[in-house]
């Protein structure tokens, strides 16, 4: 795989006096987490292939503040938000795409009243629009007939009512999309939200990600697809515990990039 990724920054665009079509908000997980970085790169490969004029903030990006806000630290959240909004507005950003539903939710719902008004898309929505506009196509039947189940990230599904975009993409792979008993509005959380990702769970009789992995195993998928780096981590851990080697956990962007041999 030739890995020459084109990842221009906003600063570079600025220097040439041009505006990119869209800003790719990478997010902390997408920047630093080993597993999530693979998702970031898969998504960039797709953007490159579709010749999307995008840019990232690079070192000018900072945490949206979501985990701070959900922990109750409104002050830290707003400090982060206002700092980010200053950067985004200075670059006159209009449209943002992100592969993290938490960033997606915060940028889309909580930034506007602080002065940051952008059209925000989740990467599955963006990829779907690329397919519809004919800028990207899915080649190769690598996933043809594979049993894939989609785990709804809470901050994409219930929080923002995006249920179909990721499913439409999976179906385009000619895969067999199987639904867990708790899906869409009734999807069970992976256990990471509300800053749980960063702490041990309270005392109980089970880990939430194990419960969710068991629900997934009931429909015997070959792949659990997700659209969130945190869900990915939680489900990967669950699978390691329960179905090591039998099920793969992949982001929807990775599925499409793989199908295209990218």
């Amino acid at each position: 795989m030739s890995d020459v990724l084109k990842v221009p920054t906003m600063a570079e665009f600025m220097a040439t006096g041009k505006q990119p079509e869209v800003l790719f908000w990478v997010g902390c997980a997408g920047s630093f987490d080993d597993r999530a970085r693979k998702i970031t790169k898969a998504f960039v490969r797709l953007l490159n292939k579709a010749k999307v004029d995008f840019a990232v903030l690079g070192t000018e990006e900072s945490c949206t503040g979501d985990p701070a806000k959900r922990s109750g630290n409104e002050f830290l959240f707003q400090m982060q938000a206002v700092t980010n909004i200053e950067v985004l507005n200075a670059y006159e950003v209009k449209k943002i795409v992100t592969a993290c539903p938490h960033c997606f939710n915060t940028l889309k719902n909580e930034y506007p009243s602080l002065g940051g008004d952008y059209a925000v898309m989740h990467h599955t929505q963006f990829l779907k629009s690329l397919l519809e506009e004919g800028r990207l196509s899915i080649e190769g039947g690598k996933f043809k007939g594979k049993r894939i189940t989609f785990h709804d990230p809470c901050y994409l599904g219930r929080a923002n009512d995006v249920y179909e975009a990721p499913r439409d993409l999976i179906q385009k792979l000619d895969a067999e999309l199987v639904e867990m008993k708790n899906c869409r509005k009734k999807g069970l959380c992976c256990g990471a939200g509300g800053a749980q990702m960063f702490k041990d769970a309270e005392k109980g009789d089970k880990e939430i990600n194990i419960e969710r992995t068991e629900q997934a195993m009931e429909v015997t998928p070959e792949i659990i697809a997700t659209g969130c780096p945190f869900c990915n981590t939680m489900m990967t851990d669950g699978v390691k515990n329960k179905a090591e080697g039998k099920i793969e956990v992949m982001d929807v962007a990775e599925l499409i990039a793989n199908a295209n041999d990218l």
């Binding site: 990724l5 990842v7 920054t9 990478v26 902390c28 997408g30 920047s31 630093f32 987490d33 970085r37 990232v56 690079g58 070192t59 990006e61 945490c63 503040g65 985990p67 701070a68 959900r70 922990s71 109750g72 630290n73 409104e74 002050f75 830290l76 707003q78 400090m79 982060q80 938000a81 206002v82 700092t83 939710n105 889309k108 719902n109 909580e110 809470c154 901050y155 219930r158 929080a159 923002n160 009512d161 069970l188 959380c189 256990g191 990471a192 939200g193 509300g194 800053a195 749980q196 960063f198 702490k199 041990d200 769970a201 309270e202 005392k203 109980g204 009789d205 089970k206 939430i208 419960e211």
Partner: protein, 430 residues
Amino acid sequence: MEFLPNLIFAILLFTGIGFFARNISKLKRNIDLGKDVDTSDQTKIRWKNMARIALGQSKMVRRPIAGILHIVVYVGFVVINIEVLEIIIDGLFGTHRIFSGIGSLYGVLIGTFEILAALVFVAVIIFWFRRNVVKIQRFMKSEMKGWPKLDGNLILYFEIVLMGLFIIMNATDVEFQSTNSGNIISQFFAPMFEGYNVHLIERVAWWMHIVGILVFLNYLYYSKHLHILLAFPNTYYGSVKPKGYFNNLEAVTNEVKLMMDPNIDPFATTEEDASVPDKFGASDVQDLNWVQLLNAYTCTECGRCTSECPANQTGKKLSPRKIMMDTRDRLVEVGNNIDTNKGVFVPDGKQLLGDYITNEELWACTSCNACVEACPISIDPLSIILEMRRYLVMEQSAAPMELNTMMSNIENNGAPWPYNQMDRLNWKND
């Protein structure tokens, strides 16, 4: 003496309604203890929500068995109440079945009531079995012991008795039976009373029916059954934003903007200080907003939220239903405190946080919104949980240690992990 029954009736009616009005004004006073929140936006969507969710019961049928049974009881309740109007007029003016003057339509009307009464009767019996024999899991959780359990059953007994009285009242009304119109159900019970003083039985059933309804009306205030009234305003005032949205505290915004503005001398004391609230977040009911308090009074204790909660499903102490019940219990306690202290709240050394809801419960939440989605009447337990976390973190710095680490990472490097912001683009060269 001819007017004695009318007089007694009038006294009963006005006492019943009077007490009810007093309770409602107390209820309103308690809800008004909450902070103000702007709900003047999107009125069209709000009306639509009320029509769809409260009037149309759209979210009830997600659980088909309970949903359909509930619709039967709900429709029965609303429709049969037309009969109450007749009872009131008859009682006040000494008439008998005043509406029968409308002719054959009256038979259709009463016939409908009788069928509904029978359906309600059956539905309520099934409800009782679900609670007490089948023991559906969500009714068996720890917060459902004692009064909440009794309350759930009492209302079922109430319904059984009221519906029974309605049928008996019709069955023993000789005149009504003789018209043989509208007595679809009661005709089968009429023979049972042959040989007895049917007139007396009819009168007793009639009086007990109306007294029962007045008692029921006044029982509401103490019961989860307040939802039959409050579900309507509650679905109207419920959030019209995406579920993922959590409000930005304005006081914090002012402070942050001040800090970030290079033109302002940070050491100068400004008027702005006055806008800083005396408390961030919520430790007691008065710190919540009035919609959250309305939520608490509206909660039906059905447990749909708790049964969908990932934390509760995996054995954690958190139960979103308990959050709502605790909020209501504390609010009632505060209200009683105000009543006994001539209109002012005298600190009682208690609060919602700690005395009702523990830190452990609050920190178990994943903010997944499953509870909000599951609630059939637009209650938002999550907003209360997050508001209380705000108090824990911003007022008490009482976050779990790992979260403090995460937050100081964000503060120092702009990421929840200890990585340098300057390394944010390194993935590009992996």
